[in-house]
Point group: C2
Chain length 358, copies 2
């Protein structure tokens, strides 16, 4: 049933862009696409949204106007829509049509800043999982003391068995090779201790499978939550529930510390002066932690790429999410994942090897 998007040559990557998603609004989403067009001159766009408003913006965006195709729709998925409500517009809304473009082979990747739950549901139902993948995962970049790390799953699945976790590891490693440019990413499972005895049965079994595998990664065993920020591993694999909790706790703690810091600086004239002197240095800190610099979460494991831009991302952030989509297309991340999974299944430690499902 599934049409795989192999019909268009990758020399001209095509992004299906939902211009209606997110807080930024149509003008900012399109301005981001203009920036991405400048960065990646071969990139072309299919713009899904209300044609009159899109045309009005295109008049100001020469690069985008030169390559973009406009596919009109007035229907929008709202941030407050439940996935079930959104599904009713999976063929008629800007978000649904962007995903449909990927399914029909008209685009290599869909990018949307809209409702995550709706995007996830539509992407799964429309594109279906790749052969060999039971469940897709949502992966994102996280700032650390060193280079960015990739964390997955971030909420596409609330529970995961050992086989799911191994598939997440394979997908995360492929993502790391593409986006972080690493040949053999260091991969670890998120756990509540580093000793082999700790954790759930699923995690221990996943660790045993990964330890015995010959995948293009260095399996580092278990990592605890307090190591996420240190950047000593490149890919952190976990079930969607824990991953979502970890990501959001990190976000919340970052805000807590910055909030307390702001209060501290405001607490006296001396500290206000201190702040003024330190401001350029603190700006670098802010830039390092800025979510816009790490924008672009990816649904991995589907027959086609879907990139989720953060709902509150600004123009630069959305342009970065489009950049992530570009890199994943150029690197044929889907083919990498399929290859590694086949390799893992061919060499998996159990005597009874599962056939690669079609």
């Amino acid at each position: 049933m599934t049409v795989r998007p192999a019909s268009i040559a990758i020399s001209t990557p095509v992004i299906a862009l939902d211009v209606m998603g997110g807080d930024a609004g149509l003008a900012d989403v399109m301005a981001a696409a203009e920036i991405a067009s400048e960065r990646y001159p071969r990139l072309t766009f299919r713009l899904h949204g209300p044609e009159p408003r899109i045309r009005a913006e295109l008049a100001r965006l020469p690069r985008l106007a030169a390559t973009a195709e406009v596919i009109h729709t007035d229907e929008v998925v709202l941030g407050t829509d439940k996935p079930s409500q959104a599904m009713r517009r999976s063929r008629t809304s800007s978000m649904g049509m962007a995903i449909q473009s990927v399914k029909d082979g008209h685009a290599h990747a869909a990018v949307s800043a809209g409702n995550t739950g709706a995007l996830m549901a539509m992407a799964l139902v429309t594109l279906r999982t790749m052969p060999g993948i039971d469940r897709p995962a949502l992966a994102a970049l996280l700032p650390t003391l060193k280079n960015d790390s990739i964390v997955l799953d971030l909420g596409a699945n609330t529970e995961s068995d050992a086989e799911n976790l191994v598939q997440f590891a394979v997908m995360g490693a492929a993502f790391a090779r593409t986006v972080l440019g690493l040949e053999k990413p260091r991969v670890a499972l998120l756990n509540i201790g580093e000793e082999e005895l700790k954790g759930t049965g699923e995690i221990k079994e996943a660790a045993a499978l990964l330890r015995a595998s010959h995948l293009p990664m260095v399996f580092e065993g278990f990592v605890e939550g307090d190591k996420i920020g240190q950047g000593n591993v490149d890919v952190i694999v976990t079930d969607g529930f824990s991953g979502n909790i970890a990501l959001k706790t990190a976000e919340g703690t970052g805000k807590l510390v910055v909030g307390l810091l702001t209060e501290a600086f405001k607490s006296s004239w001396l500290s206000r002066l201190g702040y003024l002197l330190s401001r350029p240095a603190l700006r670098a800190l802010r830039a390092h932690l800025d979510p816009n610099a790490h924008n672009g979460a990816v649904f991995l494991g589907l027959n086609g790429l879907v990139v989720k831009s953060h709902g509150s991302a600004n123009i630069r952030g959305i342009a970065n999410a489009i950049g992530v989509a570009h890199d994943l297309i150029a690197d044929k991340v889907g083919e990498r994942i399929a290859h590694d999974l086949a390799d893992f299944r061919a060499h998996r430690p159990e005597t009874a090897q599962e056939p690669v499902s079609q």
Copy 2:
């Protein structure tokens, strides 16, 4: 089988102290007990550890010397011991004997800064769970933008069903009433979304049970990881796996931001000067986040109290953990929990009411 520690009057609370646990060493643990003796003049101690070394320290600690009983042992649980190894010394080690003191009714609470896994295993096997509690939980205080919040479970259980989560909520609320001095603590379940549809079956069921209950708490529904640091709820309930991940991720992110901040201040002469001017204000920030100020995680739901001081706590931190033990004893937290659980069971929404187990 279980001897409940009701034989000693609470007008003279007794703490069984493992003087050998943690990084601080015997002298610091005892110095912390001296500080606690000053703060709570009625507090008395049973000191478990090597008698000659304890006696040598007591010569310098007049208050502690006046009330402490020394119970000699040379055996120690090491930080590297697995729970199964430690269990072999559950009657002979300083940690094991401290818990035994509680079981035998010689002390109201045990305090140790040693190996968490070993302490948890020994406490469970020696003290057993309270009637009506299926699994004990580890609860701790977390700094927020406002007042401290309580989070539980933090790793005593890797998986929890709805009934367990409800019991954690009851125990956490009782802890909040004691340690935070709140009459009706605001309680929420940690989840990956705030809508009723989100999360695992266990969480949704626990939410339904808590919503229908008449416990001395305000049930606030679901809370996401990014809200942990905001202090809008007093008790955050979760399974041990997610709780441990959340707590450690918060710890790690705090360190990441402080690490980046330190780098930022060092990056130029101007920012160094800015740091010097802001230092007093930044010290207040550091104090707000200092784990020693929030020290003292508690195993709730056992027939007797066990308080875990953080392994890296300093003298002040250990004294705070002893203070938590004192408050829980004085407030008869065990009785509160038993009362609330009985009340919950008497009014639970199902038609088939479970009898209170003995």
